[in-house]
Subunit: 665 residues, 2 copies
């Protein structure tokens, strides 16, 4: 056995502290998952006392190693580690309030609740996939700032369940492809799932599978610290990401529940805990860690202080432009020149009045923005030419050369979205990447996590309606705007023209604490914002684009994206009939909902005939239309055909709007 | 080269007919994907002329081999095959109207549009994952009815993109685990993706990966019919599912675009087509297939007739109870005794008035239903004890023994959902399976396809709100009801008590042309339906559970699931104050929306103070509440803590409802 930090404190003492705290906290909470922390305590102890580069007193140190507990249900493992190593927030009292409302020790680790929680985990597969993004961000920043400032590992503890989820396959395949050699995954190979032995449902040769992705693989006895140490040491030297299968016993120490599903997701109970204390030779009362052991752990928690000092000195000694750029990258503010560039672009568009698909306008906006913001990192799930996410001059990064500004994610929408979350969490990178809006469904669990973790990730989703035409109903989103609008803390933009595209991009970049979706068209749209203004009109979420002119406002047309132009045509016709009609563009419902009631009432025109127009299902629209409003949109799934015919077929036309209005005024 | 059906017609002639029709149709449509059909024409020709067991004149023959074009963008391959082999609907005129509104030749194959389209494909990964379900259904029915009635293969053509999607990994892992030996996947290994060479993003050792899943793998020159034939012949004899890597040239025959991304997703153009005709030695005009070649293809299309005859004779000769059971299974009607059993169960519940979680009530309903309906096949994504989807006495099926009525899907929600789609499409099986409601996000692309394909699949989604308590925001669905309600043709049930659970199960089973979601609680709920009635009150989607009694109705409380009990408590209080208050339970918005306007108005109580109560986000509720209604629900994501505290914390209480009502009456 390798030497422990204090001679008199053994590895077992250290590991058992984790086990004891975990089983005690779960018992106190009367709910939780003791089995995993008890099983992985040895592995975690070796990692945190011998390898993980961190300083508990400086949890935000930019070049710390990242640790992701992908198996988030084992949250007590992480909370124990944070407490033992001396993270200030993670008091013993917090461990005692595990899973209670208002504590920082939630059932699953929640990003932002405590320092040292690098991300929210719990939905299986997300941790490992997000960690791929962290490891990628590390390489990207390393390419930009060098070894002196960015040179750290990303460690993951993952469960069988993590490795069964499709998103982990996508992410592992991508990590192997990119040769993310500083990613090391410790697999809790305990062979127990909730339903029983894993071989009830899972008989992959997992090591062979990861080798096929291009990973290094190793197998260790997960209760033998020397083996664990040797394996991690080796994996740090390889040229590929590594998977270490740690053969463990779930609930290690529990007399009857160890190695059974019974220790997975329920408190062990008093008798079992008593037996475990005996088995582990841990005679101490609940929640009590003897001083000597605690001090040894605290020693481990400050192991990284000299390295952090040295790093701070390197940052201080760096050339001013480099250190400034590094700090700016980590801070992630959007500088004034970006706002100026957006205004310049808006002015040009208002003058030139192009007819263009909003995906193309988005590409143009990116051509202006990406050179100004070195943090921006584009990509696509194999739809580069369709998503227009590759800015002019942006080279693709690849294995061994991470200086490119563009990522070919492959046909891996879910892995891509999770990786983007990881890049945003890492800091120093503003990720944006594309697929078709209909495939937002494939990314949805990761989009949800971005929103929950308040991360600035921009999901570019083109081909945003039946306007994509012939590819038909599988490719035509009809319910996706509603489904995305349902996610709390997510900005869903659907700009109506090139000016709104530029405005929405600026809003997405300026929204440091929420992710954005940009829903963009395949088909051309006219420029409606033909009068330049520096004000970001999209910032209020909805605004009167054309006020009633023929007389007092009798009709209010509310539309988003490609349907604003159709509504504009209808407005012209209604005005020509003498019916005063206002046209409201609603690029973001979420921002509009945040406006004062008076502004909203004025825009919506309560008391006027209100008609919503969007080539989507109605769900959600009634909020803006009231009970007597009309809605022109999709009754259900789309069809395959040229898009102009589809709009007619589904009755999303200016004439249909005019008829609906006339029937109501 | 192997001998062609007609001596004078070569394999090349047959394959070139596919190539020519495909490039001509894409050209005529001015959109589509010629590269894949041209590349895979040789493989498809060998499969369809030498192996695929089918009879074009009897497309519904139950024991036909299933063919799934997972790479659905290559739809012209399938349409060409259906036309050439003589499927009646697939006329030359339909090929000429490829991708036009009203044709049966949609951009991607759409299930139900033409015979021979076994499923809707296009969203990558779904085809192969759904095919796993078809192959599984074949084994399940084989175990039940024997080789004489059920003994067929499932063939898939899959692309690189299919194999990159996480859902295909999950499905392949499951197929390997279950040893689905009658599944054969032909991988179009053309090494070209939309962005360029696949190695831009994808460098898996795919064969090694599939071996690690437990598959047989083979590699062939995808333009050498003899190699293809030998490989398929071999794979038919193995004890595992098989992957045949077919090394092909995308756009085979096109002079400059072959082997480039340029042939993937756009018409080739007149010059390129002219060159291809020369290269392929296919001098015939557009859309013209010489009689001799067409006849050879038609011959292939009737190859299976004798086998179909023999099968029909076996069915006719089978014992009456077996043939009747087989036909009943395929028809999928719900017999009267099931309705009677549900009524009996409802009566018992109304009398016993249990306090139970609806997931437990669902388990009880399944205990009654599953023995009566041998078609029902349960399962869970490793949450058996939580989802309560394993009926009493249902054994788990496993490799080599498919007689079990329960499937351990592993932690593979997406693969599970797709496999369920495949079982429903195959026929003879009514699949239902569970996970947590929050993980409906993981299955969403497959749920959407179930709705689009009008398949009876029941997605059991337990732990349906903050009522799950301590697991916290990652596990607490708040937006998922809205997101699911947005999907057209999907029934989303959220029953309020055990009686509604039984009613909703019956409705889900009786809905032969749409999938259902059952959102069920973890926490106990009282029995509200304490007066037995044979009428299925849930069938109308919403109904007045308690009418105002204290006086004329002034307040209408609208609630679903676990919040109906809370609203019932509020109603008691309001009534006690003399405020006439009706309580409406809304187990299914979709069914309610289909009721006549008069019924809806009566239930909703237009003109009364309306308050919606649901522990979810508000999106969608305004439709029922009108502009002045109130909503008691979730403002955003949840928290970790005991559920009773969470309900108080978020103000979802009877008192909050009473206050909201009093402020408005």
């Amino acid at each position: 056995m390798s030497s422990a930090p204090f001679d008199s404190v053994s590895h077992n003492d250290l590991a058992n502290a984790i086990r004891a705290l975990s089983m005690d906290a779960v018992e106190a909470a009367k709910s939780g998952h003791p089995g995993m922390p008890m099983g992985m305590a040895d592995v975690a102890t070796v990692l945190w006392t011998k390898f993980l580069k961190f300083d508990a007193k400086r949890p935000d140190w930019a070049d710390r190693d990242r640790f992701v507990l992908s198996a988030g249900h084992g949250s007590m493992l992480l909370y124990s580690l944070l407490h033992l190593t001396g993270f200030e927030d993670m008091t013993l009292d917090q461990l005692k309030r595990f899973r209670q409302l208002g504590s920082i020790t939630a059932g699953h680790p929640e990003y932002g609740m405590a320092k040292g929680i690098e991300m929210t985990t719990g939905p299986l597969g997300q941790g490992i996939a997000t960690a791929v993004g962290m490891a990628l961000a590390e390489r990207i920043l390393n390419a930009r700032f060098g070894d002196g400032l960015v040179d750290h590992f990303t460690y993951v503890i993952a469960s069988d369940g993590d490795l069964q989820e499709g998103v982990s396959h996508e992410a592992a395949s991508l990590a192997g492809h990119l040769g993310l050699k500083k990613l090391i995954v410790l697999w809790d190979d305990n062979r127990i799932s909730i339903d029983g032995p894993t071989d009830l449902s899972f008989t992959d040769d997992t090591l062979a599978r990861f080798r096929a992705y291009g990973w290094e693989v190793r197998t260790v006895d997960g209760h033998d610290p020397a083996q664990i140490e040797t394996a991690i040491e080796y994996c740090k030297t390889t040229d590929a990401p590594s998977l270490i299968a740690c053969r463990t016993t779930i609930g290690y120490g529990a007399p009857t529940k160890a190695n059974t599903a019974g220790s997975h997701g329920s408190p062990l109970g008093a008798t079992e805990i008593e037996g475990a204390r005996k088995n582990l030779n841990w005679p101490h009362p609940a929640f009590h860690v003897p001083d000597e052991i605690l001090l040894a752990w605290r020693d481990a928690g400050s192991r990284g202080a000299p390295a952090a000092d040295a790093w701070e000195q390197r940052l201080a000694a760096a050339e001013t432009d480099i250190s400034a750029a590094f700090e700016k990258a980590l801070k992630g503010d959007i500088p004034a020149e970006v706002v100026a560039a957006v205004n310049e672009l808006k002015k040009k568009i208002s003058e030139a009045k192009p007819s263009a698909a909003t995906r193309v306008s988005s590409g143009n906006a990116l051509d202006a923005l990406v050179p100004l913001l070195p943090e921006m990192m584009g990509g696509s799930a194999d739809l580069t030419g369709s998503n227009n996410t590759r800015a002019k001059g942006a080279g693709a990064l690849k294995k061994g050369d991470f200086s490119g500004r563009y990522i070919h994610y492959g046909v891996r929408e879910h892995g891509m979205a999770a990786a983007m979350n990881g890049m945003a969490l890492h800091g120093g990178v503003i990720p944006f990447s594309g697929t078709f809006l209909t495939f937002s469904d494939y990314c949805r669990p990761a989009i949800r996590l971005a929103a929950l973790m308040k991360q600035r990730v921009v999901f570019v989703m083109t081909h945003d309606s039946i306007g994509l035409g012939e590819d038909g109903p599988t490719h035509q989103p009809v319910e996706h705007m509603a489904a995305l609008r349902a996610i709390p803390n997510l900005l869903v933009f659907r700009p109506a023209d090139a000016v709104e595209v530029a405005e929405c991009w600026l809003l997405a970049l300026q929204s440091k604490d929420r992710p954005s979706v940009m829903a963009l068209t395949r088909q051309n749209l006219p420029t409606l914002r033909d009068q330049h203004t520096e004000e970001n009109l999209s910032a209020k979420g909805a605004y009167v684009l054309r006020e009633a002119a023929a007389g007092p406002r009798k009709v209010t047309l509310l539309a988003t994206g490609s349907e604003v132009a159709i509504a504009a045509e209808a407005r012209e016709k209604l005005e020509a009939m003498g019916i005063g009609t206002a046209l409201v563009s609603m690029p973001s419902w979420e921002l509009f909902a945040e406006q004062p009631a008076g502004y909203r009432a004025q825009v919506l025109g309560r008391g006027t005939v209100r008609i919503g127009v969007e080539a989507m299902v109605r769900l959600g629209w009634d909020r803006w239309l009231g009970e007597d409003g009309a809605f022109i949109g999709m009754p259900g799934f789309g069809e395959s055909g040229p898009y102009q015919e589809l709009y007619k077929h589904f009755g999303i036309t200016a004439d249909a709007i005019v008829q609906a209005a006339k029937a109501r005024v």
